[in-house]
C-alpha cells in the first residue's frame, strides 16, 4: 500500500551541536509530509571546538535518544554522520554519496535551496515552532554563562550532556591555551 504522504524520503542536514527542541519539532512536522527522513550529522569530523564541542558519536547518541523520547520510530529516520568536504562545490555530491536516495531537501536556507534546486530536487520549507531562542548557538551560550540551557533541549539530550560532563568541556574550550581552542581563541602558550 503506497503512502499518502507527499514525499518518500527527505534530507535534513545539521551540525546538532547540540540537538535542541527546535530540531525535534522540525523533524516531527516534516514526517507529516514524508515517509522517512535522512538526518545528516554534518561536520562529523569536528569536536572539541567552541562552536563544535561534541563528537559525531556523542551527537549520534543524543539524537537517537531524543527521537525515541519524542516518540519517533527508528523505522522512519536514518541518522548518518558526514565529514565536511574540503571543496564546497562538491558538498552536495558528497552528501548524496553518504545518504540513501532522497526526493526532497528540507531546509529554510536560501543557498542550500538553490544548490539542490539546480539538481531538480524539490525543496520543503521547515516550519519551526518558534525559531528564537531555539538555536544551538543559544544553547552553547547559556552553557557557558550558566543560563538555563536544559529548557531548550530534550530531556535525553540534557542527560547525555551531563553524562559526558559536556558543560565543563565547553568551559575548558573557552579557556584553553591548547591547539584545541585555537579557532575560537588567539591565546598562546
Amino acid at each position: 500500500m503506497a503512502s499518502k504522504r507527499r514525499f518518500k524520503r527527505g534530507l535534513f542536514v545539521g551540525r546538532f551541536q547540540p540537538f535542541h527542541l527546535g530540531h525535534g519539532d522540525a523533524i516531527k512536522r516534516l514526517l507529516e509530509e514524508m515517509d522517512e527522513i535522512v538526518i545528516i550529522i554534518g561536520s562529523a569530523q569536528l569536536s572539541h571546538e567552541l562552536d563544535d564541542p561534541f563528537t559525531a558519536g556523542e551527537r549520534y547518541v543524543m539524537i537517537k535518544d531524543a527521537l525515541s523520547e519524542l516518540g519517533i520510530s527508528p523505522e522512519r529516520y536514518h541518522l548518518i554522520p558526514v565529514p565536511d568536504s574540503p571543496m564546497h562545490s562538491v558538498w552536495v555530491a558528497q552528501i548524496t554519496s553518504y545518504s540513501p536516495p532522497f526526493d526532497v531537501i528540507c531546509t529554510n536556507d536560501p543557498l542550500t535551496k538553490r544548490l539542490f534546486k539546480e539538481l531538480k530536487i524539490p525543496v520543503e520549507n521547515i516550519a519551526f515552532y518558534k525559531r528564537e531562542p531555539l538555536s544551538a548557538t543559544e544553547v552553547r551560550r547559556r552553557m557557558l554563562s550558566g543560563g538555563n540551557w536544559r529548557e531548550l533541549v530534550p530531556k535525553s539530550v540534557a542527560e547525555e550532556i551531563e553524562k559526558i560532563d559536556g558543560v565543563a568541556r565547553l568551559k575548558e574550550l573557552s579557556q584553553t591555551d591548547s591547539p584545541f581552542g585555537r579557532r575560537g581563541s588567539s591565546k598562546t602558550l
Copy 2:
C-alpha cells in the same frame, strides 16, 4: 531490568562491499551475546573502485534492508559510515569518535584484536557459519565472471545491487581507462 547478555554494546567493522550472508550470520550470533551492535561501514569515502564499488549510501541501504530481512530490529543495531584515517595509528581513535560507546570489539583479525586490547577493551571472536566461500571478494569475483553471486548475499542485497545496476558498474570498473579504476588497472589513455 538489566539484560542478561554478556555485553552492552559491541563494535563490528567492515567495508561490506557488499554485505553477504556471512556478515548477517555473524551479526545474528553476536547479538546473542550483546544487547546492541554498532556496525561501522568502513572506508566510507571509497566507491567506484574495483575493490570498493559501492558508495557508503548504497551500502547503508543494503545493510538496513538485509537486517530487516533477517529479522533484526533497528532497536538493536547502529549503522555508521566512517571514512578511512590517513594515519593508521589513529584509526582506533577515529572509530571511537564516530561511534556510540562500546564495551567489546567483535573481530577475528589478530591485529585489530591487539590494537583494541591495548585500550583494555574485551575482544569477542566471530563465529562464522562457514567462512569459505562467504567473502565479499568472492561475491565481486562472481559478479565479474558471471558466476552465481546471488546465492552469497541476502535477497534484499541482490535486489539493491540490481536496482543500481551494480554488476554493470563493476564490469565497467574492470575495463575503465579513467582515473576511477586506476588502482586496479594500469591502463592509461
Copy 3:
C-alpha cells in the same frame, strides 16, 4: 627574432573574486615588459564562501572573456587554476609545479617578493592605475550593499556574474545557516 621586452614570461597570482578593472589594467602594463604572462587563479578549490563566492571555472570564464574584451591575445597569456597548499612553506613549489617556467614574478606584496627573491627570481612591481577603490573586496561589498559594482569590472565580467546570478548567491552566502557560509558567519541551525 628575439623579443625586445625585458622578460620572457611573468607570473601573476590572484584569487580574482571577481576579476576587476585593476587586474585588467595591471596585466596590460605588465605585458609591455614581458612576452607572456601566467595568470594563476589561486585558491581554486574555494567557492560558495563570502570572500570566495565563485568557482575556479566561473573565474576562468570571467577572466578569459575580460582579456578578450581588453584586446589581449590568447597567445600572450596562460590561465591556470591552482588549489591552496596545506603548507604555506611549499606554496612557491606548488605554484611552480602547476605553471610553465617563468622568469619574473609580478607583485607588490612584500612577502611574496621575499619568497621569490630567495629563489633568485626577479620581481616586477605592478603599477595599478588607481589602487582604490579597485579591489575585489570593494566589488563584493557593493554587491552586498546594492552599490554600483558594475563600474569596477569589465563589461564581460558583469555579464558572466549576471548569467550565473552571482549577486543573489553572494547575498545568500551572507545569510546562510548552512556550512557554506560558516567561515563568514557564526550562525547555526
Copy 4:
C-alpha cells in the same frame, strides 16, 4: 551567427603522461563536432612517479605547443589542470567546478559515460585513428627500454621532453630508492 556544429563545448579528460599523436588526432576530430573543447589535465598534483612522471606545468607546455603544431587555434580550446579528488563519487562535481560549462563529454570509457549520463549530459565517442600502439603507457615503456617513443608524439612534445631531460627522469624513477618511486617499486633503503 550560430555555429553549425552539434555541440558548443565538449569536455575531454586525460592525464597526458605524455600527450601523444592519438590525443592530437582525437581532439582534431572532436573539434569537427563542437565549437570548443575543454581539455582537463587530470591528476594534476602527481609528478615524479613511474606512471606519472611529468608535472602539470610540464604537461601544460607540451599540450599547448602540440596543439599549436597541429594548427589548432587557442580560441578553440581551454587547457585546465585539475587535481584528483579523494572521493571518486565527487569527481564529476570537482571537474565541473574547475571547468567552463560544457554540453557534451568526449570519452570511450564506459564508466565515465555512465557517470555523466546520470547528469543528462550527452556523450560523444572518440574515434581514435589507430588505438594501438598509441597509448601513453606505450610511450613511457619505449622511453624506459630505449625504443622509438618519438614517433608516437608530436615533435613539440618530444622537444619539451628532451628540454627537461624527461627520459633520464623516467629511468631514475624506475631505479629509485626514494619515496618518489615507492608506488612503482618496493625497494627500500
Copy 5:
C-alpha cells in the same frame, strides 16, 4: 641505578612561535621532576602566518640553541615536530604515535589535562616563573610594534630570529595581500 625523580619521561606540547624565557623556565623546573622531557613542536606544518610565522625547522634550531644556552643536556630532552591533526578527537593518538613513550603530561591547560587523564596518564602542572608578560603572543606583538621583544626570549632565539630576518617577515605578514596572510587579514588583490 634508578633515578629518584618522580617520572621517567614527560610530554610538553607547544607551538613555540617563538620559544621564550617562560618556556625555558618551565622546562628547567619540569626536569627536576622527570628524567627526560619530550618537547613537541606543535602545528609543525604552519609557517608564514601572523600567529605562526616560523617554520618547524626554524623553531627546532631556536629551541635546541636555547636549551644549550640554558645548560640543558641533549641527553635529557627529545625535540619532535608534529603537524596538526584534521580531527581534534584523534590529536592525543597522533601525538602518541610521533613520540617516545611518556608517563606524564606537563600542562596547565584544563582541556589537555582532561583528555590525557581519560587515558590514565598523570598530569604535572607547570610552574611558570611569572606568566605575564611571558607569552609568545606578547613577543610577536612587540616585534610588530617595535617594542623590546628581545628581553622575553633567550639570547640564542633572538640571534636566530635576526639571522632569518624574522621581524621583517612578521611585518610583511601583517601587511600582505597574498594568500599567506589571509587568515589574519581580509585584504584582497
Copy 6:
C-alpha cells in the same frame, strides 16, 4: 675554531623500517665529512602497514638508542620525523621546511640527487660497507620468515623491536583482514 670537515650539515633521508647496520655504517662515514647530520624519519605518518610497520615514535627511539650504541654524540645529529607530502613536486620544499639548514644532501639515489642539484645543493655519495643484504626489506622479510634478522640491526634496535613485540605485529599485518593491511593484502572480510 672552524671545523676542517668539508660540510657543516648534511641531510640524510630514510624510512628506517627498521634502522639497520647499513644505516649506522653510512652515518658514521658521513660524519667524517660533515660536522652534523640531519636524519629525516620519512613517511612519519605511516605505521601498521606491511612495508611500514613501526610508528615515527618507535623509529625515533630505535635510532636514538642505536646511535648511542654506535658512540655517536647527540651533539652531532638531529633526528626529525616528517610526514609524506601529497605532491611529490613539493617534497624537497617540505623537507626543507621541517629541517635545520643543510649544505649537502647525502644520497646514492639518482632522482634525489637530481632534485637537490637543481637547488644548487651539493650531493655526497653514501659509501655503504656492504649494500647487500643490508636492507630494511631484508630485515622485514627475515622477521616474517623466521630468519636471523637480529644480525642485521644494532643490538638496541633488536631490543626495542622485542619490547614492542614487533615481530608479532608484522606477522599480524601479513595476515590481517582489517583496513590496516589493505595495501599489502587484497583479502577482505
